[in-house]
Structures are given as C-alpha cells and as structure tokens.
C-alpha cells in the first residue's frame, strides 16, 4: 500500500513537468533527423558532461513551435536545418545573437553578420534516381536539368513541397540561379517539370524511400539523405546537373530568453568547431563540414568530385522567399 502511495506521489511530481533535477541539462529542438543528431549530442555530452534533451521536428514545425513558445521558451538552442528557416526566424525575433570562437574563421555565407545564426555544415542538393528504373528505360543518370523533363519520367518524380520544406526552397532558388534569376523563364521550367512530378512531399527526404523502392523514378534531394538511402542498400544513383545545383548551409542558433544560456553557448561552440564536424565522417553523416579546418570525408569528396555546386545567396533568397513560394503555390502546384 505504501509503495502504491509512493508511486502516486512520484507520478504527480512527474506530471507537473518539474524539470528541476535537470537544471544542468540543455534542451534542444533538432531539425536534423535523430540518426544524424544523436551521435553528435552524445559526443558533446562526453566532452562537456552536459546532457542534451532533444526533440526532432521538420523545419517548419520546429519554427512554428519556437514562435508559439516565444514568451516562455522551452528550449535553448535550435539545431540544424537549412539557413532559410533561420532567416525566417530572425524576422520573428526569436534568436539571441551569439558569436562562437569559430565565428571569425567561417566564410561569410556560413554566418549571419550579427551572429543570429552560424553554420555547422553545408548540404548540397543532388539528383537521385532509381537504378532499376534507369535500366528499364534505357536512360543515363540525369546530367542536366533538362534531362528531368524527359517524358520517361512522366508522373515519376517525387520532391518536396515548398510550403514545408527547406529542401524545396533551395531547389527552386537553384533553378532561379540556373536561369540567371530570370523568374519567368525559371517558372516556365518549373511548370514543365511539374508534369513529371508524381507528388510533392511534406519533408525534404520524403521521396527518398519511394525512389529506393522504385515507387518513384527519382527526385531532387539533399546529398545527406540521398547517400543515406544508398547506404541502406537501395538501388539508387546520385548525379549532378551540368548547369550546376545549389547548396544550403545548415545552421544553429541560440534562442532568446533561453533558460540554460551558458550551456547553450557551449553547444554552439562545439557544433561550429572541428570538435563536432570532424565526427561527421566517423558516424557516416554525409554533411560537408562548414569549418575550413575540417577535411571532407574522402568518400563524400569522391561523390562531389567534378560536380558544379553554387551557394544560394541568402540575402537574395531571404528577400524574395515569401514571394517566390507564393508564386510557386499559385502557378506551379496546380499546373497539371
């Protein structure tokens, strides 16, 4: 009977959500999938003794939550995710500027001038196609944006929806760059590409498994997701367009009003430095390091060899994002 009463008391304390015992811990929303983020947080705990409590959300969901929690923040750090998510966050005033010791060393495109966010990795887009599909249709892996317009791909491509996914926004800005920022030409291309799209998925990696299974012929994904699919044993081919394709910085930021500010800064110090980025190769996380002192994993470098990759100008993207996504929703989405 006494043990029962004890159990009830423990449960009540638990229910209140008292986290007093965890005062020294750090609370984080990660936009990186858990299988990428978990080993990094474990390394961080090993080095600093600070335990990271984390939850994973896709970028839109994570941002919506942080905005809703603005007056009473529940987390200290927003970890990972394409830089355009962080650009949207700046407008909502949810970040506290912080410059880690690595700040000076990072290239200009890997940091926000005031330290609102800093990059922890670089993530290029790739074309990924199903090997069996290519063989059956006697096709070479697509090596140009125009190759994706081949009628053989009709109703066969899966890629992300620009309303939810940073992957999709990076993709659309890649197309804009390819067409020299001529919006009308770029949208004419996107509308033609629409004819071959089977479905636009919620998350950036949503189409990778269908492509691996042959349910989709292929799509445009971040390299980290594409190589993960390949590593799982699915028959997929990674290729790059000769006109070039965009890459997006993956960022980290301190939340304004964070309850564990100092611990949060330590995580940002760790994530922006070689201490973490040198571990990418070890855990087979195929991000390109953002810190100039860390070498890219040789296997990953081999995949990237000869590929033409350009950064998305985040100032241009930030200024036009909303308008471009709206136009995409109004013109491209229904154009079938």
């Amino acid at each position: 009977m006494r043990s029962l009463r004890c159990a009830v008391l423990v449960m009540i304390a638990w229910l209140g959500g008292f986290a007093a015992a965890r005062a020294a811990d750090l609370n984080v929303y990660t936009i990186w999938p858990e299988n990428y983020a978990r080993p990094m947080f474990q390394e961080f705990e090993k080095q600093t003794g600070i335990k990271v409590n984390f939850l994973r959300f896709s970028s839109g969901e994570a941002l919506a939550r942080v905005i809703a929690e603005k007056n009473n923040p529940r987390i200290d750090v927003l970890f990972g995710g394409p830089v355009e998510t962080f650009a949207a966050g700046i407008k909502e005033g949810i970040f506290e500027p912080y410059k880690s010791p690595s700040f000076a060393k990072l290239a200009a495109r890997f940091k926000q001038a005031d330290g609102q966010w800093m990059a922890i990795a670089d993530d290029p887009l790739v074309f990924m196609t199903n090997g069996a599909f290519l063989k059956a249709n006697n096709l070479k892996p697509p090596a140009s944006w125009d190759d994706l317009l081949d009628p053989a791909y009709k109703n066969g491509l899966q890629m992300a929806d620009a309303r939810t996914s940073g992957t999709a926004v990076t993709r659309i800005f890649s197309v804009l760059e390819v067409f020299g920022r001529d919006e009308d030409k770029a949208f004419a291309y996107l509308k033609r590409l629409r004819q071959n799209v089977q479905v636009y998925t919620k998350s950036g990696g949503g189409g990778t498994l269908p492509t691996g299974l042959g349910q989709a012929a292929g799509g445009i994904f971040f390299i980290v997701d594409a190589l993960e699919t390949k590593a799982k044993g699915y028959d997929v081919v990674v290729s790059f367009p000769k006109e070039g394709i965009g890459t997006s910085a993956e960022a980290i930021a301190l939340i304004k009003g964070a309850k564990n500010r100092e611990a949060g800064k330590k995580l940002i110090d760790f994530a922006t430095s070689p201490a973490m980025q040198a571990k990418f190769a070890e855990y087979k996380v195929n991000f390109v390091p953002a810190h100039p002192d860390v070498k890219t994993d040789p296997a990953l470098a081999e995949v990237l060899k000869g590929a033409r990759i350009f950064p998305i100008d985040d100032e241009y993207a930030g200024a036009n994002r909303r308008r471009i996504v709206d136009r995409w929703v109004k013109e491209v989405l229904p154009a079938q």
Partner: protein
C-alpha cells in the same frame, strides 16, 4: 432573476448533485475547449487590437482554398457513407449471422486493427501496394503507371481506418434490439426483408446518424491520411491549414482555414439532432422477455454477409502483415534478411517515448470514459439551462482538425496564468476532450433506447439523482462507458495531429516518433513501434473485456463484452 426562472432553473437549483456536475463540466469545457478556441479566434480575426475580416476574405478569394473546402466536404461525406455501410455490415454479421464466439473474436480483432494503429500506417501500406511498383498493382497484377495518390485512395484509406467507429456505434444498438420484436413481425406475417426494412433498420436510425456524424467529423479533421495519400490534385482543408501554419508560418491563414471546417461540422451536427431528435427508439423497457434466437436473416444471406466481412478483414490483415514484415527485415524493399534490430532500437532509444505514452494513455482512459458518460447522460436525460450549448461545445475539439487544436492549446497554455505546456496534463486533457465525444455519442444513442420509466421508478422510490445515476443508469450505459474508455485509450496510443504540437522535451509520444522515423527513412523502427502499439492496445482491450466479463454487469454484460472484442 427569480421571476424569470424556468422550470429547468428550479430543477437544477433543487438538485445539488446535478448542479455540481453541470458546473464542473462547464468549468472544464471553458478551460479546455472555449479558452483555446477564443485564443484562436483572436489570432484569426484581431489584428493589432482591431477586429478584421481581411484574412477570411483573403482565404475565400483563393481558388485553391475554395477547392480544398469543397474537396473536404466530398471526402467527408464519402467516408461517412462508406464507413457507415461497412460498419453496419460488420455489426449485422456480428449480431445476426449466428457466428460462434471464436469467429466473433477473430472478426473483432480484424476490425480493431485499423483503430489501434496510427492512421498513416494504412496509408503507407496503400502506397506500397498500389504505387507504380506496388506489390499488388505491379508485382501481382502487372499494371504500370498506376497512381496511389488522389481521392479514391484517400477515401478508401480513411474508410478502412474509421469504419470501426461505425461498427462500435452500431453493434450495441443492433444487439439491444430485442429479437422478440423481429419475431413478432414474423408471426404477424412479415417477410424477412420487410421485417428488416420496417423494424430493424428504423431502430438503427439513431445509430446510423451517430456513425455518419462521427465518421464525417473524423474525416473532416483527419490530416495524416490526406497528407500522405491525397497528392497535389486533391487538396483538403486540414492539410492546407497545416501547410499554411508549418510551412508558410502563417498562423492567421491557418487559423482561418481550420475555422472554415467548423461550419460543415456544426451543420451536420444540428441536422443529425433535428432528424434523430423527433422520434423515439425505446426498446429496453424493463420488460424484456426470454430472448429468442434471431431468425431475422436468411441462411444464404448470412453466408454473403460473412463472406463480405471476411473480404474486408483480409485486406486489413494483409496491410498489417506488411507492417510486421517491415519491422522484421533489415531494409524493406532492398534487404529482406531477418533481424530483431528495429525492436532493439525502440526498447533502448525509444524507451522514453514508450514509457510516456503508456502513462498518458493510462491516465486519459478512465478520465475520458467517465467524462463521456457523464456528459452523455446529462445531455440525454437531464433538463438544465444550456444543455444544447453543452452538447455543442463538447463536440468542438472533435470537429476541429487536430493541428489547430494543438496550435490553439500551444498558444493558450504556454504563458501564465495557465502555463501547462511541457507537462503531461495538457496532453491528457487534449485526448480527453478530443476523443470523448465517441463516448458521449454512444451514451446518448444508448440512452435513447432505454425507457425513462426505469429511472423514474428509482426516483419515485426515493433515490437521489446521484444514486439513480450510479445504481440504475450507469449499469445500463456501461457499454457506452467502456466504448468511450476504449476509444480514449486507443487514441492516446495512436493519435498524432494535435499532440505533435504538445509533446515536449520531458514528454514525448510513440506516434510522434513513428512519424519522425518515417521522415528519416527509418521504416524498420517505425514499423516496430507500430507493431508494439497494436500489441499493447490488444492486450489492454482484452484485459478490459476479461474484467468486464467477471463483473457481469446486469443488462450490459454481453454487449460490453462483444464490444471489446470477446
């Protein structure tokens, strides 16, 4: 005040138990339904302190949103009709086809499968089976160029997911129809068809209306299925609202879109009340004679009925067999070597989610069951001011899409004075107020069949209203109580759309983990989690029905037992 008192005011003032119950329910509804809704309305219609209709007009001007509105109605009506039909088929087979107990258990188990798993598991199985390289469409039938996206796959997935609600609503009603009534119709010379048409079917009308309403609302609010299956050619409102909020960070637009959903939900609700409310369906009169074995359905018809049910059940079992396979192979579709690895993952890294989910479900279950029966009893049996308003308000969280309930809770309860986010209490409250309407409707439907004279007899013998409720009404509506209890537990284990916004660092849920696993291509752990959820719910439901069988609740024992799957 005093001279304005209507009889119902006097009634409630002279009955402290009733007054207390009504006041308590209203407090809870105010806090967990109206308060967040008010926050949401403020978000949608107040701009910098001034009321504005601009966001609403913007939404209505967008042809994409108008199409989504129409699509939502078409989908919800289709799922309502299809699901009620399939549910009735199963209920009829279970009650009138003369199946043995063991067969009934098998049938119940197959029916419960879709109810006890996260909705998008059906969607994933459909994509695997019917895509361009689908197991059925391509490998079995050799078709090419099939699309798994669009209206039909969404409607079928939702029907398969939600028809058990119709089954659970209709079965106790069919079971409560005294076969002697049908017997009498026979002996008066009616044919089987005529008896079915003029006796059995009309008695099921409140059940049909309730089942349709519940399915219509469930489909209207479901976002997980269309998110995966509707594709881009068939947008529906909940998905659009979700995309508006999480993708375009447009809280206003999202709030407006989801508030549009309230309009059809409220209309169907009022229609159903108007239609069912005018007739009486009393079959339990306290004078039930010896039950005779039902002859209502011809033997050949029984065979057809059972065959149809077995066909549907086979499809369901196939979908879930696929899930089991995916949880036990290294990489579904690429590497079919056997492994326990995915289960090892969920019981190590996934253990906190499992623990949290079980605690939350165990807490929500009794609260939800009690709340459902109490509200159902109050609105069906007692006369007090604001009764209709209570009925309507209690349905709101069920009718709203989960995304918007989640966001509303997040906004309303994040800041003082009532800061509840981050704790388990809010998740439990969300489940109780979102999923108890099943219990409420089941209670109402059951009470409409029970003659008031039974309770009046108790009252005239001097029992207080609380005692009458406890000793007379409660045993009679026990099946509804256990239906409500079961649904809240099941939903606590499987729902995602609202609670995805309420999980926190300290409290997370299995379903959220499943969705995350799916998005990071970890199909194995996702499938393993799903299998685990199904097993747990089956064990709990079987345990509940065993307890119930031992209790031998007077009139309701048999019905309640079968309710929970033998």
């Amino acid at each position: 005040m005093a001279r304005a008192r209507s009889p119902s005011w006097r009634g409630i003032a002279g009955d402290p138990a009733l007054l207390g119950a009504v006041a308590a329910i209203w407090c809870l509804l105010l806090l967990f339904v109206l308060f967040p809704l008010a926050h949401l309305l403020e978000r949608a219609f107040v701009d910098e302190g001034r009321p504005t209709l601009a966001p609403l007009l913007d939404s209505l001007a967008d042809p994409g949103h108008r199409a989504a509105f129409v699509n939502s109605l078409i989908l919800a009506a289709s799922v309502g009709v299809l699901g009620t039909a399939v549910g009735f088929l199963f209920a009829l087979a279970a009650v009138r086809a003369g199946l043995g107990r063991r067969w009934l258990t098998v049938l119940d188990a197959a029916v419960l499968l879709p109810l006890v798993s996260p909705p998008f598991t059906t969607s994933i199985s459909i994509i695997f089976s019917f895509g361009p390289r689908g197991l059925i469409s391509h490998h079995l039938l050799g078709l090419t160029g099939v699309s798994a996206y669009g209206f039909w796959s969404t409607a079928i997935a939702e029907t398969l997911t939600y028809f058990p609600i119709a089954y659970l609503t209709l079965r106790p009603i069919l079971a409560a129809i005294d076969p002697n009534l049908e017997e009498m119709a026979f002996s008066l010379g009616g044919s089987r068809w005529r008896t079915f048409r003029t006796v059995t079917l009309p008695l099921c009308v409140p059940g049909f209306a309730n089942a349709f309403l519940l399915l219509f609302a469930a489909s209207l609010a479901d976002f997980a299925t269309p998110l995966i299956l509707a594709g881009n050619a068939f947008p529906v409102l909940p998905t659009q609202a979700y995309l508006q909020i999480t993708g375009l960070f447009d809280f206003k637009g999202g709030a407006v879109l989801s508030l549009l959903l309230l309009v059809p939900a409220v209309m169907v609700f009022l229609l159903q009340r108007h239609w069912v409310g005018r007739r009486t369906y009393v079959t339990v009169t306290g004078k039930v004679g010896q039950r005779s074995r039902s002859q209502a359905i011809a033997p050949w018809m029984q065979v057809v009925l059972v065959a149809a049910c077995v066909a549907v059940a086979t499809i369901i079992v196939y979908f879930y067999a696929l899930l089991l396979v995916a949880s036990l192979v290294a990489a579904f579709g690429a590497d079919y070597s056997f492994t326990w690895r995915h289960y090892a993952v969920i019981f190590t890294e996934g253990l906190p989610a499992i623990r949290d989910t079980l605690i939350i479900a165990a807490l929500g279950m009794p609260l939800g069951g009690l709340y459902g029966v109490l509200v159902g009893y109050l609105i069906a049996r007692r006369d007090f001011p604001g009764r209709r308003a209570m009925e309507l308000v209690a349905m709101i969280n069920y009718a709203l899409p989960g995304t918007i309930v989640g966001i509303a809770y997040l906004i309303a309860f994040n800041d003082p004075p009532i800061a509840l986010t981050g704790g388990a209490l809010l998740i439990v409250a969300c489940y109780v107020f979102r999923y108890s309407p099943t219990g409420i409707r089941a209670t109402v439907a059951l009470l409409q069949q029970i003659d008031r004279s039974i309770e009046e007899a108790s009252a005239s013998l001097g029992a207080a209203s609380g005692e009458t409720f406890r000793r007379v009404t409660l045993p009679l509506i026990a099946p509804a109580f256990f239906a409500g209890l079961g649904v809240v537990f099941i939903r606590s284990m499987t729902a995602i759309s609202a609670t995805i916004f309420l999980v926190s660092i300290s409290w997370t849920l299995i379903t959220v983990r499943i969705l995350e696993n799916m998005t990071e291509m970890a199909l194995g752990p996702a499938a393993a989690f799903s299998v685990f959820v199904i097993v747990v719910v089956f064990v709990v439901v079987a345990g509940l029905s065993a307890v119930l069988a031992r209790l031998r609740t007077p009139t309701a024992g048999a019905a309640a037992r079968s309710f929970l799957g033998g």
